[in-house]
Assembly symmetry: C2
Homo-oligomer: 344 residues x 2
Amino acid sequence: MSPKRVTIKTIAKEVGMSIMTVSRALNNNSNVNDQTKTKVQQVAKKMGYIPNHIAKSLVQRKTFTIGVVVPEIAHSFFQEVIRGIEEIAYDAGYHIILTHSAESFQREQLCLETLLSKRVDGILLSVAETVTDFKIYKELIRLKMPMVFYDRGINDIGISTVGIDGTKAAEILTEHLIGLGYMKIAHLAGPLHLSIGANRRQGYLNALKRHKIRAKKSYIVEAGLKEKQGYEGMKKLLNQTKKNPPRAVVAVNDPSAFGAIDAIKEAGLRVPEDIAIVGFADDIRSQLIEVPLTTVRQPAYEVGKVAADKLIKHIESKTEAVEDLVLNTELIVRKSCGWSKKKN
Amino acid sequence: MSPKRVTIKTIAKEVGMSIMTVSRALNNNSNVNDQTKTKVQQVAKKMGYIPNHIAKSLVQRKTFTIGVVVPEIAHSFFQEVIRGIEEIAYDAGYHIILTHSAESFQREQLCLETLLSKRVDGILLSVAETVTDFKIYKELIRLKMPMVFYDRGINDIGISTVGIDGTKAAEILTEHLIGLGYMKIAHLAGPLHLSIGANRRQGYLNALKRHKIRAKKSYIVEAGLKEKQGYEGMKKLLNQTKKNPPRAVVAVNDPSAFGAIDAIKEAGLRVPEDIAIVGFADDIRSQLIEVPLTTVRQPAYEVGKVAADKLIKHIESKTEAVEDLVLNTELIVRKSCGWSKKKN
DNA sequence: TTGTAGGCGTTATCAA
DNA sequence: TTGATAACGCCTACAA
């Protein structure tokens, strides 16, 4: 970028006017003579003028940039969210700075500091797994930085959230199993300190309760969110329920379900004939495996769009209400939950 | 962001020193009294000082920001590229502005203008499908804007490129079929005005030539890059080769192969017993379908990393050589190409 | 409709 | 080691 840059000053000299006239002409301001305007614009173009948003941002205290913090950039869910954000932001004339917390609390802080220093107009954030301290979010509120949580948020601290109702979705999933006649339903839970883990477990429990099925401790195993952990969790579950094994399993997510299926097969059992299983998330692989997985589809792209839209509203109107936006999930029924009406 | 911001000026007043001392202290500059430094840093922290990178960028003409132009943000390949870029950029202390050309020439221009105005330190771009005019790239060169093409680039205009050798990969793929004994090999080509279409077709032809197999016009059908187009292309191919149908097909990419497989089945034929098929790209579904697809893996994440690395080198050293970096693809052999040694 | 002065928050440069 | 001053490129506010 070295050939001495063309600035409005350069142009002003060239056309023999003040820099203000040039500035106004370039911004298509109304109070400028049409001829002047045309002339300035022509000269600017001829000289290869490139406006400097940095300078503009400095004086206007507005960058038209949105900061996005993603906890796991390798996850297709978040990649889709980004796509949704980009679309809305683009339409509204905003740009995106992408940062990655890699599920690390510390790194999330760093992302936030950077974004603050870059003076983004607003921030879209999904809380990293290891975050335990909300101080920085409160600080953000104090600074009046417009912000929206997407997918993983914190309720009731004064920041809008956009996500799905994990409790309800898990409830629907569990209820679907009950509707098929299953009574002995186990749960391969996620980490309970995470809202997704806790919510889905709650949904599972709610469904049982509603249908007056007693929840059994031995039917609930806390595992992780990954395939391997699902596998181990399922092994443990089978092991501790030998006398009275479950007939169906609600896994905390699809990867966990994949692992569980391996464990089930390994135990010489069939899905869904011996044990039915449902997942959560609609992983791209879910419909392609041997026994396609019943699961719940989360509208990732929509989450991105709605979150970006809400954020821009917060940016552009101080009075925009803080609210929790809940998007609908969709139950995807496939073979893994079985269709039989056997009562057991 | 309204509570009157604290700036180095505010801090200067507070500690009773000049803004320069504060600036130096905050930047951990060496020529500052240690006590002064400590004191300033403490006060800054206490006052909640947030450095303004915008102002800094303005005076230093450096933003520590990389602009990325993605042609199709919904494509998992590019999502993985972004992931690679992010990783390298983060490690080097750069941030990313993400823009999306949506395969549109006009929109790509817009992305570039924005990035220029935002004074990014460098640009990573993958050429949009509809780009026909390279003027703007040449202009970028003239402006000495550091730049690297990734995946889809333009050779010999003075900009580094990072990608795979599509010709060679297609050649290897075709040769693999030949090695298995197939002689009657057809090609479901992509759009030939796109380099990926042209290159892969060339690789296919090269392999045939090397093995002295005559290329037949009726064995090459130009279709699109999507599943549906693969389906139609395959139907056309089967139709025009009724008397002498191919025994194997090299599809331009995996989605195209998926479509082709449908068409093959529909014609009452089996894969690979009647017609073997190979794809290109290693779509996530390829290993999960009924007859897993032999294909070529493109190192998307690596492409992102290498491109970002090269760009940062260009940014940080004017003398960094312009070069074309070619990454290796990996042949993934699965069932769809068959193992039989039948000669036909 | 156009121009002048001043400042946005920081750093470079030179002087003390 | 510290400070004064002038940029960086643009816009706001006011004046002409």
